[in-house]
């Protein structure tokens, strides 16, 4: 199976709206592939098409080598889909939820107990089997949802913002689990609003208005942002931002507490001018240093430019 996911002009129309338009995408088996984009870009619709929950309007997609249109019943056993919303039964315990999913996927009785035990250990939930799912913390709920998604040992994971609203420590635990699955050869297709997560993917697609406007490795995406970013810490960030936004060499100024992130073509050329302008306005400069461009910087820069205005 060279390609885990391949789409050809995949399109989904709803009344009066094309949610997914002409998408051509190939994800090799074993890749961690990230999907980012503004709210309403069509990320969830795309994932649902691949998971055979929605039927495409035009084009087609192969998942695990089978068509999501004509062979959906062959696709389903191969994929594990985790939706953005919490889909577990809150009044069932951790163990009951796992058993329920084992029933749905008809996991044979002789392997069931062992597999559930492995998944509990894997998701660090062994000590919580009797707790109702509704009483788990946000991070534990996500881990349980992932464990249920893995009950039939899918080779292709379709994860729709699996860590939204989860604290950084739990997010890290969750990604450790994804890392292990990746190591075992699983293909992971994940939508995320967190740019540090996008940075962990081998390739990232930026989706906007139903289309994929950019698809490349995080390093190559970051290389698309022209110029440099400098962090200038000032006494008064509000005034500092106001002053620098009027400077012709500042392409963009973002406030981070007392620190300003200023995007400019050539910091060496621009900095003396920035300095002078701030001093003239009576704004004290605490420090100036270059910032290594993050995916977050790159996203803000690129998503605002490519394919029209966002939200």
């Amino acid at each position: 199976m060279p390609e885990a996911i391949k789409t050809e002009n995949l399109t989904k129309r709803f009344a009066g709206l094309t949610a997914v338009e002409d998408i051509n995408l190939a994800v090799p088996a074993g890749e961690i592939f990230g999907l980012v984009g503004p709210d309403g870009a069509g990320k969830t619709t795309l994932i649902r098409l691949l998971a055979t929950i929605l039927l495409r309007s035009d084009g087609d997609a192969q998942v695990g080598g089978y068509s999501v249109t004509d062979q959906a019943q062959l696709v389903r056993p191969l994929v594990g889909y985790m939706s953005q919303r919490f889909t577990l039964y809150v009044d069932l315990t951790v163990l009951e939820n796992l058993r329920f999913f084992a029933d749905i996927y008809r996991i044979p009785a002789d392997v069931r107990a062992k597999r559930i035990e492995e998944l509990l250990a894997f998701s660090q939930l062994t000590g919580f089997t009797e707790r109702p799912a509704g009483q788990l913390s946000g991070g534990m709920k996500q881990k349980l949802a992932l464990a249920c998604t893995l009950i039939h040992e899918p080779r292709i994971l379709l994860l729709d913002e699996p860590t939204t609203g989860v604290d950084p420590v739990s997010r890290r635990d969750f990604w450790k689990i994804l890392s292990r699955l990746h190591q075992d050869g699983a293909t992971i297709f994940v939508a995320t609003p967190y740019m540090d997560e996008a940075e962990r993917c081998q390739r990232v697609a930026l989706m906007k208005d139903g289309k994929i406007v950019l698809c490349d490795s995080p390093a190559n995406i970051k290389a698309l942002v022209p110029g440099e970013v400098v962090a200038i810490e000032v006494g008064d960030a509000h005034q500092g931002a106001r002053v620098l936004r009027e400077h012709p060499l500042a392409m963009r100024v973002d406030m981070y507490g007392e620190v300003l992130h200023v995007y400019t073509d050539d910091a060496g050329v621009a900095l003396p001018g920035f300095r002078r302008r701030l001093e003239e306005a009576g704004i004290g400069i605490v420090s100036i240093h270059p910032v290594e461009l993050s995916m977050e910087n790159a996203y803000i820069h690129l998503a605002g430019r490519i394919g029209g205005q966002t939200s």
Binding site: R200, I300, G304
Partner: protein, 260 residues
């Protein structure tokens, strides 16, 4: 508790000078509150939602007429007054919810994870609005899971297991954190994580964006040590070097310590 909705079991708190257990109604009337689940009426329009909250907060009609315009302008919702709230995308809903929370011009605003699941650009717009309010003198009390958002705050508290485990400006919190963090990129990150996790000097090790961060505690020779260990196992580490800790590094480490 700070909004005057839950009564403290012990201790006391004052918000805007009022006691949360004795004068909760004085507080409720004066604060704005925006929750992670936007409390908008999906089957009411943008304008109707604003009018509803103005009614709840007893905003007089002529004051509301002015406020309404200012809020629509702020939230960039002019021209969309008659759209159903339910039809707005999350980014717009968020700005409308903020508008509803400040219809009575509260001097104090509580925001409970206001930007969950919103893309970085919508989050930036939202924070620009918050900065404008802060400049006008509004006090903002925000909870967030985004460390990059925590950087926006003048001061921040890390809360874990019901206790505040750090409280200061983002800069001071980072400065006070003494652990040595090594950043590197490996040819096999997952193997490197597993290997370094077992190392006796390593406090913790985790993915950080595309790189791996290794916390060596007070040990200063981490970069060389990590390179040596990985090389012995046939792995290659690129650019292993000490970095100044980010808020996320600090948060993760403080929590792990609190768990021990």
């Amino acid at each position: 508790m700070l909004c005057g909705v839950l009564d403290p079991t012990a201790g006391r708190a004052e918000v805007l000078g009022f006691d949360v257990s004795k004068e909760p109604d004085e507080i409720k009337r004066r604060i704005g509150y925006m929750s992670q689940k936007f409390s908008l009426y999906e089957d009411l329009t943008v304008a109707e939602n604003l009018a509803f909250y103005a009614g709840i907060y007893d905003v007089s009609e002529d004051v509301f007429a002015e406020r309404r315009l200012a809020i629509l302008e702020m939230a960039d919702l002019r021209g969309r007054e008659d759209e159903l709230a339910g039809n707005l995308s999350v980014g717009w809903k968020q700005r409308l919810a903020l508008g509803c929370a400040i219809v009575h011009q509260p001097p104090m605003l509580f925001l409970d994870e206001p930007t969950g699941g919103v893309d970085p650009i919508a989050r930036r717009h939202f924070w620009d609005l918050l900065y404008d309010m802060a400049r006008e003198g509004v006090t903002l009390f925000v909870t967030t899971h985004y460390m990059e958002e925590a950087e926006h705050c003048h001061r921040l508290g890390f809360i874990y297991d019901g206790k505040i485990i750090a409280l200061d400006s983002p800069k001071k919190i980072k400065e006070r954190f003494a652990d040595h963090i090594i950043e590197m990129v490996c040819d096999d990150q997952e193997a490197a994580l597993a290997l370094l996790d077992k190392h006796e000097r390593v406090r913790n090790v985790y993915l950080y964006g595309a790189a791996v961060h290794v916390n060596f505690g007070d040990f200063t020779g981490g970069a060389a040590e990590a390179g040596k260990v990985l090389k012995a196992a046939g792995l290659r580490a690129m650019n292993a070097a000490p970095v100044s800790p980010s808020l996320e590094d600090v948060f993760v480490s403080l929590i792990e310590r609190a768990q021990d």
